[in-house]
Amino acid sequence: MNTIVGRSRWTPLLFLAPFIVTFLLFTAYPLVQSVNLSMHQTYGPKTSTFVGSGNFTQLFSDPLFWKALSNTFLFALGSVFLQLPLSLGLALLLDRPGVRGRLLFRLIYFSPSLAGIVFVALLFGPIFEKNTGLLNVWLNSWIGFDLEFPWMERHVMTGLIVAGMWMYVGFNMVYFLAALQNVDRSIEEAALVDGAGPWQRFRHVTVPAIRPVAGFVVLLSIIGSFQLFELPFVLLNNTAGPDNRGLTVVMYLYQTGFEVGDLGYASAIGWSLAILLMILAVGLRLVLQRYED
């Protein structure tokens, strides 16, 4: 009996074919094409002129690109240094033994991330409004805060970081909580018996145990931050806000490619962002590896 008949040498290829065809068509080809595009000035896909590295040269002297990059970095810093510690703090609270209603709290904290970003932006718009916004009215009645304080004009990134925190703190908390629940309790108990205090136990037992998950969450957070688009776009009424204070790299890419029609320059922005993210991801990996070593 020849069992090879049932699975010929073509069988694996046939099963892989849908993925390979889809990958080549929708990932590999557009990638190669976008490299080509980044070396052209275009008006849509049908009219273009080769400019070589001109788009990249222009990009590095383009103040708007640097503005977008610094805004995006600021949001990423806010995500990593404000949002993630808060997520970890909530996870630690929920991980304490004897916490009642853990499932309910987990659901409550996680639920904002179920809402779409556009919905969140629409929600925060009236909150940050001048004169009639919920935040100013509440602060005014509480501490006499200036009703006309323009959050979305002068503190755009603060507003975006707060909205981002509201949305993603619970989401990241779930990762941390899962990691905390996998920490070996016997090691913690041994540390406790050896007289380690709460901070020492956290520092020397918990943190090393959750480091792989924390690294993953930091990486996700950085990549997500650098893709920030819908939140400022909707919150600032399809603009980048006064003095481009809400301009992010992806928003600049969108404006250039789809509002101005220069797909070549937009491709150059996209590739610059991709290379930057690759550098950040490799850098983070090296840092984490150093800690593990």
Binding site: M1, N2, T3, V5, G6, R7, S8, R9, W10, T11, L14, F15, Q41, T42, Y43, G44, P45, K46, T47, S48, T49, F50, Q58, P63, L64, P126, E129, K130, N131, T132, G133, E148, P150, E153, T239, A240, P242, D243, N244, F258, E259, V260, G261, D262
Partner: protein
């Protein structure tokens, strides 16, 4: 672990043979059935596989059937619901009496913008006739003239004498490099809408107001702090550094602009500097008179309803919006010509605009042109346009019609149509530069930085702010110039590779 499991194909259990050669009726069919492809296909298409193939087949048939149901005739896209409702009876009468039929579609403005842009940029299908607003239409003028997605209507307009019939400034937003690409829908002159109940109660005579300085002087008693909370009970004018359309309207009124008639960048002009320096003194410092009560927002409407702002600039189309959104203001508001920047200066400006363009890809340009004229030159539609939306027609021969003289209770019995028509010939000219939107944003940024500078240096007079205003506008000018210079398709005779 993964490598361990899958390093060798031996880990996979052998599949049972699907074809038993010993039981096949003939050697030929045995050979066929045993071919690797046949075996693979038979193995792959389990009952679940057949269901997927069936669903794929059915959905393909469904899509093909739908693709064949497109209606005959020409298609037209509009973005404004009132326009759609207004055109429907006319379209029905056209379809009953003329050929080819016209199919009218209402799209949201962003949807129309994206479909139009992608269609023009990459030759995907678009409607034969497209009604576009001033911001959307200028997108079509970014590339070489031969690639503008709208049909060049210049010769048709001149031959039919329409250029003589329509208010000249109404053509300018649809004219690129000397060629006209759309029929104007409107004029959109601007007046000042003010809270007559408050102004008259304070005994202020608005007829004595000629300039913005007069306006501030006459109206300032309304800014008293009678409730003693340390801030004025109300502000005089609705304008803010973020209101890019309002800022542009003020600049155009003063005779400035972002591009000259040859579409060269003109942001760094002295007029523009004076206007933004003046607006900066209106929005900050001890001479502040303005507040941000944006149109189309609940918070802005609330400030207007509460009387927190006395006056707003109002193009003809905005009256209809106020009536719909703030009916409680009926009988409390009146209109007056805008105060001028200088004695004897222009008493109006322009804000917004819509055109009807014919897509270059249309199969029947002559029919599309006839339909465009039927809709846009109709007296009946001009009357409906005014009665339902307050918008005056750009066709000058219709300005004498008496429907523009009907008193409006919302404006305390004034006849807004007649008032707007008197100002229509003075509406400033605009350009159709595709960089207009980004220029508006840069000037807004310049004003924002100027306001910050004023607060930091505690300088709150126009004269003191002028040098900084010039410097900020110079930077905005340089930025836009850089972008214009980069666009080699806008240069004379430049054509890209196809």
């Amino acid at each position: 672990m993964f490598t361990l499991l899958f390093r060798s194909g031996d880990y996979l259990p052998p599949l049972p043979p699907i074809v038993d050669p010993e039981k096949s009726p003939s050697a030929a069919s045995d050979e066929l059935l045993r071919s690797p492809m046949a075996t693979t296909v038979r193995a792959a298409l389990s009952p679940g596989g057949w269901v997927i193939v069936l669903l794929a087949g059915l959905s393909t048939l469904f899509v093909m059937a739908r693709a064949g149901t497109s209606r005959a005739g020409l298609d037209m896209w509009v973005f404004a619901r009132p326009h759609h409702e207004m055109y429907l009876p006319n379209v029905e009468s056209w379809n009953a009496n003329q050929d080819p039929d016209l199919n009218l579609y209402l799209l949201s403005l962003p949807a129309l913008e994206r479909r139009m842009s992608s269609g023009f940029l990459s030759d995907t299908p678009v409607a034969d006739l497209i009604e576009a607003d001033v911001r959307v239409a200028s997108r079509a003028f970014t590339g070489p003239l031969k690639d503008v997605g709208f049909l060049d209507l210049t010769d048709r307009i001149r031959e039919s004498g329409i250029d003589e019939e329509i208010n000249p400034p109404s053509f300018t937003p649809w004219t690129s490099r000397g060629r006209i690409f759309g029929l104007p829908h409107d004029v959109h002159p601007v007046m000042l809408a003010y809270r007559a109940d408050l102004v008259e109660a304070a005994g202020i005579d608005v007829t004595a107001i000629e300039t913005w300085d007069d306006f501030i002087r006459a109206m300032s008693p309304l800014m008293a702090d009678e409730d003693g909370d340390g801030r004025p009970d109300r502000y005089l004018l609705n304008v803010w550094e973020t209101q890019i359309d309002t800022i542009e309207a003020f600049i155009l009124q003063a005779g400035g602009g972002y591009f000259d008639e040859q579409e060269r960048v003109a942001i760094n002009s002295e007029i523009n500097a004076k206007v933004i320096a003046t607006i900066a003194t209106w929005i900050t410092g001890p001479g502040r008179i303005a507040v941000d009560a944006q149109e189309f927002t609940a918070s802005g409407n609330r400030l207007k309803l509460e009387g927190f702002v006395v006056a707003s600039i109002m193009p003809d189309w905005l009256g209809g919006v106020w009536k719909h959104d703030m009916g409680d203001l009926s009988g409390k508001v009146k209109l007056m010509p805008l105060p001028a920047w200088e004695p004897g200066g222009r008493r109006t400006t322009v804000w917004g605009g819509t055109m009807l363009g014919i897509a270059r890809s249309t199969q029947d340009p002559e029919a599309a042109w006839e339909i465009a004229k039927h809709l846009y030159l109709s007296e009946d539609l001009a009357r409906q346009l005014y009665e339902s939306n307050g918008i005056i027609s750009p066709i000058r021969r219709l300005w004498s019609r008496d429907f523009y003289d009907v008193p409006d209770d919302f404006f305390q019995g004034q006849a807004p149509g007649r008032m707007y028509i008197e100002l229509a010939p003075s509406v400033p000219r605009r350009t159709s530069s595709p960089f207009n939107q980004i220029a508006k944003e840069r000037v807004r940024d310049a004003l924002t930085r100027l306001r910050e500078y004023a607060e930091k240096e505690q300088l709150f007079t126009v004269e003191a702010l002028l040098p900084e205003a010039r410097s900020q506008l110079e930077a905005a000018h340089a930025d836009i110039q850089l972008r214009v210079d980069r666009n080699m398709f806008l240069k004379d005779g430049a054509e890209g590779q196809r």
